[in-house]
Amino acid sequence: MDFGYSEDNERFRQQIKDFLKANVSREFRAEVREMQGKGMGPLAKELILKIGEKGWIGMSWPEEYGGRNADRIDQYIFEEELVRARVPLNIGNFIEQAPAIMSAGSEAQKKYFIPRLVRGEVTFALGYTEPSGGTDLASLKTRAVEDGDEFVINGQKTFTSGAESASHIYLMARTDPDSPKHDGISIFLVPIDTPGITIRPLWTLAGGRTNEVFFDEVRIPKTAILGEKNQGWYIGSKALNLGRAGAMRYYTYVSLFEETLYFARSNPLGQQLMADEIARDKMAELYCEAQVARLFTLRSLSMIRRGINPPYEISSEKVWGPEFLVKSTEVVSQILGPYHQLWEGSELAPHRGSFPKRYVSAMVSTFGHGSTQVMRDAIARRGLGLPRGAV
């Protein structure tokens, strides 16, 4: 067991810190605040390109695809520092399709997409979920029908976050309506500006944006399919699983707690509230549980680095982390009391009113990318070998 970072790791961490110090300006932070829920502003796009040029996006991928064969721990450190510096570029999210493209894509797709993903020029919105089913992807209804050299797509996706600023949609559609549910599905890499695609915003409680995406006779070339036809379910499942590892997601779960910790130490109101021993006990309890979230992520990374495909450990992350996040918002709400309800727009609101926003948006983590219920099913069945039910 080794819970420490090597000197090389620490040097790399310093490099990232220096870069962020030099490149994250006041103007950038102002833009982030202003653009909240409206997509990515020009400074954010610029920063992503700079990060891409540094070779830090997908740095652990093979060199031939634009990566650097870098240590996954360095990638973890990169993501960690990004989130610690509160730079909300969800880079993990729009590169999570890369592993699937690398393993199932055509040579042309790999050559086109991977370097551009690495440079930050291509970003994907995830086109899985449909109005009729969230976690139950196998029941999807969006159809892709062959017509000569093309597929014609009709249907609807929902909760398609980031579609308003993505370059492509990573689309799951049914290509064989007669196959059993999991078998007739394919994945397509569709430019978001393809005619026939309409994006409608859905506004979330925290003031953020997600989307509905409508496909009306959308024509794409056959080369836009990823991997074999009707094999999309298996390609997609794999990407979803790999997509769950990494610091980005872990910090999503604990950042509310870390922010509260910062508040408790440095804000006069925070210190006043911490005079209450019971509040400190609650904070200490959250601290302990946050460490489990961190260690679960490091465990998954350790396994992947060893070439082990974690049978259940990534699902454990995806149960523990989101439920920790939700719990931490509720516990913190009972420490801050009436201050916790203050929305942005008041001097009195701690952290510019971010507490209630985080409170209402925490829920998304417990059902986005697979509900905690489905994750528990997976732990029990894949991890512990418990049988499927007959009733």
């Binding site: 979920t129 009729s132 089913g133 969230g134 976690t135 139950d136 196998a138 029941s139 929902t158 909760f159 859905l202 506004w203 979330t204 409680l205 997600t210 109101l269 006043q272 509230l273 209450d276 019971i278 509040a279 609650k282 939700v326 509720e330 709400s333 009972q334 420490i335 801050l336 009391g337 009436p338 201050y339 916790h340 309800q341 203050l342 929305w343 942005e344 727009g345 008041s346 009195l348 609101a349 009113g353 209630p356 409170y359 209402v360 948006s361 829920m363 998304v364 417990t366 059902f367 509900s371 905690t372 219920q373 528990r376 099913d377």
Partner: protein, 379 residues
């Protein structure tokens, strides 16, 4: 001993519910929340016509003498219907005026309140959000026939609509705890009194008040000068239990919506409500909200009987603060994606229950009262 509602209580509940379904549709709730107006004047008028603003008040002033628990049941329906009217702050203040005001004060104030012509507010909390009366530091100095007020109040409910605000202040400097407290009714447009709106999770109307040497006639003191501590605590307690009633009412509605959704929504080829995991979540939800309801009713009943109810009120609030939001969180989880979308109605209840759980004392603060009341604090 029969903890269920009796026929009269059921009738009251059913009538209020039916009325609010009709008169307080979510479209109206959304409209008021969007800020076009602070409350719905038509609904306020109708509420007054139905006599709702007079429940538990003497007939002499146009009220209906009824047990306090009836008011609690009405507030459950207010929570369920999310009625966008300032009935909570108005009645919290009015109940205290009725309790300790002079005959003359009651005569001049209560008929107007009960008739729907006067709105009130109450100002209790200060910086730090403490619920102990010791935290009240707003200074009130007697000068001639005036009290002069200086200091701040926070999280003041319905101040912008109110004509007057019942302010809890410390009239004897250097006094501690419950001593030296005075309740005084302040015109909201008094000179030197400024306010700024606090935007909140529930989208309701709360203000920060700043008293800059505000002069209030001594005749506006409600109850005895310097002797208002007990009444201030009683006002707080009534506010708390009516807040619980609203949480409970809203929570029932939200979990019922969830059960219906679980029966209809399909995944993996069957209604999601047929999965044991979902069933057990639903079982927990109803258990928690039922528990919150019974605790709230017991406290309401005790108040109705004129019995001490500090323990029961704090027990109810500590439990509601934790379990009502938890029940709604499970409801969100069962709804999944759409629960986070503004367009979908569930969030209207969710945000309110969440915000109400953050107000009028945290679970930690109320459990501290419970610990005192169950006599485990070493002497």
């Amino acid at each position: 001993m029969d903890v269920l509602l009796n026929d009269d209580e059921e009738l009251l509940r059913d009538q209020a519910r039916a009325f609010l379904i009709k008169e307080s549709p979510t479209a109206l709730v959304r409209e008021v929340e969007a800020g076009s107006k602070d409350y719905d004047a038509a609904l306020w008028k109708k509420a007054a016509e139905l006599g709702w603003l007079g429940i538990t008040f003497p007939e002499l002033y146009g009220g209906t003498p009824a047990p306090f628990s009836d008011l609690g049941l009405l507030f459950e329906e207010m929570g369920r219907g999310m009625a966008p009217i300032p009935i909570h702050p108005t009645l919290v203040a009015a109940l205290t005026i009725n309790e300790i005001g002079s005959a003359q004060q009651k005569e001049s104030l209560l008929p107007a309140v009960i008739g729907g012509y006067k709105m009130l507010s109450w100002a209790w909390f200060e910086h730090g959000g403490d619920i102990d009366l010791a935290s009240v530091q707003l200074a009130a100095k007697v000068e001639g026939d005036c009290l002069r007020l200086s200091g701040n109040k926070l999280f003041v409910d319905g101040f912008q609509q109110a004509d007057q605000c019942l302010v809890v202040c410390r009239s004897q400097s250097g006094s501690t705890g419950n001593e030296g407290i005075t309740l005084v009714l302040v015109d909201t447009d008094s000179e030197g009194l400024s306010h700024s709106r606090l935007p909140t999770l529930a989208g309701d109307i709360q203000d920060e008040l700043c008293f800059d040497d505000v002069a209030v006639p001594l005749g506006n003191v409600i109850g005895q000068l310097h002797e208002g501590g007990e009444a201030a605590v009683a006002m707080f307690e009534r506010a708390v239990i009516l807040n619980c009633a609203m949480m409970v009412g809203a929570s029932h509605k939200a979990i019922e919506m969830t059960f219906e959704y679980a029966k209809e929504r399909e995944a993996f080829g069957q209604p999601i409500g047929s999965f044991q995991a979902i069933q057990h979540m639903c079982a927990n939800m109803v258990t928690w909200v039922d528990g919150a309801t019974l605790l709230t009713h017991e406290a309401l009943w005790k108040l109705s009987q004129g019995l001490p109810a500090s323990k029961e009120i704090s027990t109810a609030k500590a439990f509601c603060n934790e379990r009502c939001p938890a029940a709604l969180r499970e409801g969100n989880q069962i709804h999944a994606g759409i629960a986070q979308i503004k367009e979908y109605d569930l969030q209207l209840w969710y945000r309110r229950v969440a915000a109400w759980s953050m107000r009028m004392g945290t679970s930690i603060q109320h459990r501290r009262i419970v610990a005192r009341e169950i006599d485990i604090v070493p002497k």
